[in-house]
């Protein structure tokens, strides 16, 4: 426990050190605020934005896009992954195409989606769903394949049908990988919604970044970044929380690493 507390203190120290260094460099180097604002001015701006509620409607828009897209993408990934896992022929047929689509950066088709689905929320939901879908699908497929041969033999030896093997072995066995996929999907969903708004939107945090960036309100852009990371971290934290309780048997040393994606 001593080392655990030590790590926490160390982490906090790194953050504070980083902010202090940033403040000093901006201060001493006399860097103009429209290039890099000092963290203190970002703080002041954040306070102002929260008090005036400027970003609130935009946060709501982006958060709705993220959640709707995530729900659709994750549900589709699960459904498709389970179907493919239960029908090896389907997997053989579609697998090369999945790999092909995987190599394509999904955000690159965002402009097309804006043309097809308009400037409103729909196009952002579609982009978000699309980027959330693939990590989910790939992990679901890999998860169902990860059942150990000996365990499959064991189930068969004790008289389990195909369906009961799925229910009692393949599905729970796939859960850790499904949650890993969900963690990636959550992070991707935030990226998807923001990129979609960059390409063309009338509201949302990504849209506000383009607006404030154009006005050289760099401190304002930083406040949006703070809001976006708060959204990302909260969603990731929720998934993590559910995951820890659901797949309690998995040794989780890779805790923080997933955020690096």
């Amino acid at each position: 426990m001593k080392t655990r507390v030590g790590i926490q203190v160390g982490r906090a120290a790194i953050l504070i050190g980083f902010l202090v260094l940033w403040e000093l460099i901006v201060d001493i180097g006399k860097i103009p605020p429209f290039i890099v604002p000092a963290p203190s001015s970002v703080g002041v701006r954040l306070y102002q934005v929260v008090i005036e509620g400027t970003l609130w409607p935009h946060t709501l828009v982006t958060l709705s896009e993220i959640l709707a897209g995530l729900a659709i993408g994750v549900a589709a990934g699960l459904l498709f992954g389970v179907t493919v896992a239960l029908m090896p022929l389907a997997e053989d047929l579609v697998y090369p195409y999945l790999v092909g689509i995987q190599t394509l950066p999904k955000v690159a088709i965002a402009p097309l989606l804006i043309i097809w689905f308009g400037y409103g929320m729909t196009s952002k939901v579609v982009i978000t769903a699309l980027v959330a879908f693939f990590p989910m699908l790939v992990n679901v497929m890999a998860g169902f394949h990860s059942a150990d041969r000996d365990q499959l033999d064991m189930m068969r030896a004790f008289g389990a049908s195909r369906w009961r093997t799925f229910l009692n072995l393949r599905l729970p066995n796939a859960l850790p990988m499904i949650f890993a996929g969900l963690e990636i999907s959550v992070v991707f969903a935030v990226i998807g919604a923001v990129v979609g708004e960059f390409v063309g939107a009338q509201a949302g945090l990504g849209y506000m970044i383009t607006v404030w960036n154009f006005n050289l309100d760099v401190a304002g852009v930083f406040t949006i970044l703070v809001v976006l990371s708060a959204i990302g971290l909260s969603l990731h934290g929720i998934v993590k929380f559910i995951s820890r309780r659901t797949v309690f048997w998995v040794n989780r040393d890779r805790d923080e690493k997933i955020l690096g994606i």
Binding site: D148, D150, D153, M155, A157, F158, N168, V247, W249, V250
Partner: protein
């Protein structure tokens, strides 16, 4: 079914000694290797296992002993020949067989008792009866009080004990064990051998025990099947007439050492440098 002993004694009366419970006749198994070559894993296997007998199968890796067990278990089909359990030909896994693999293969998300009850659940046996039976088995292997633990909270030896209880949970007449203690350290392994003897005398099952350890094979068995590789065949079947119950003192007896030496000599030509085992 309230007292398993009574039922088992009744079984013994019903099936007179001499009628084999497991019969393997003219068994051959060929595989096609990845390079398209035809590999003979087993050939000319004839074997009869009496009811209540403890049979060890010993041989170096590649002699097909695991393949033999998988065929008896109904997990693999033979290329030639046939296998029957209690006179009925094997066409697939039977409910009258319990299996223990080298890996404990416990389900990580199930508690000890739920793992041990898995076969009974899959075969839709009465939950109350099978629970009582499993609780008794867990007690027998010293896992009383661990019923609510998860596999990751147990040592390797304890996990394998759960796997043994699981294999016996549905009260099968046959217990097949494929190098069950191969992954355990020497001390735990010795302990497990003693416990297995204890369980066997308590449960009176017919056991086929696959191992590559000669002393382990001799210590446990009524007969030892010695197999040689490429192609896998039975070199000799050796009767072990050491008195029971066997204890650690058995290991120090001259007749025990002689039997081990005899088997080692049979296997020596097939594996150079095996004499040290």
């Amino acid at each position: 079914m309230t007292n398993p002993h009574i039922r088992l004694v009744a079984d013994k009366v019903a099936a007179p000694d001499g009628a084999p419970l497991i019969r393997v006749a003219g068994l051959e198994k060929r595989f096609t290797s990845r390079h398209g070559e035809d590999v003979v894993a087993l050939t000319g296997i004839d074997l009869e296992v009496r009811r209540g007998e403890f049979l060890s199968v010993v041989g170096p890796s590649g002699c097909g002993k695991s393949t033999l067990m998988r065929i008896v278990a109904g997990l693999l089909g033979p290329t030639k020949g046939n296998v029957s359990l209690d006179g009925k030909p094997v066409t697939g896994p039977s409910n009258d067989v319990g299996i223990v693999f080298q890996a404990a293969t416990l389900l990580a998300w199930r508690t000890v008792i739920d793992n041990a009850m898995l076969p009974a659940q899959l075969q839709r046996l009465d939950p109350a009866t099978s629970r009582a039976r499993v609780e008794r088995l867990l007690k027998l292997v010293g896992l009383e009080g661990f019923e609510r633990k998860y596999p990751f909270e147990l040592s390797g030896g304890m996990q394998q004990r759960v796997a043994i209880c699981r294999a016996l949970s549905h009260d099968p007449s046959i217990l097949l064990m494929d190098e069950p203690f191969g992954a355990l350290d020497a001390m735990t392994r010795e302990q497990m051998n003693l416990e297995l003897m204890h369980i066997w005398s308590d449960e009176q099952k017919t056991v086929v025990f696959i191992t590559h350890s000669i002393p382990e094979a001799v210590f446990l068995a009524d007969r030892v099947v010695v197999m040689t590789p490429r192609p896998g065949r039975i070199a000799r079947i050796i009767e072990v007439e050491l008195p029971r119950p066997r204890t650690l003192a058995t290991l120090a007896e001259a007749s025990f050492g002689e039997l081990c030496g005899k088997i080692r000599a049979l296997l020596a030509p097939s594996i150079p440098g095996m004499a040290h085992l």
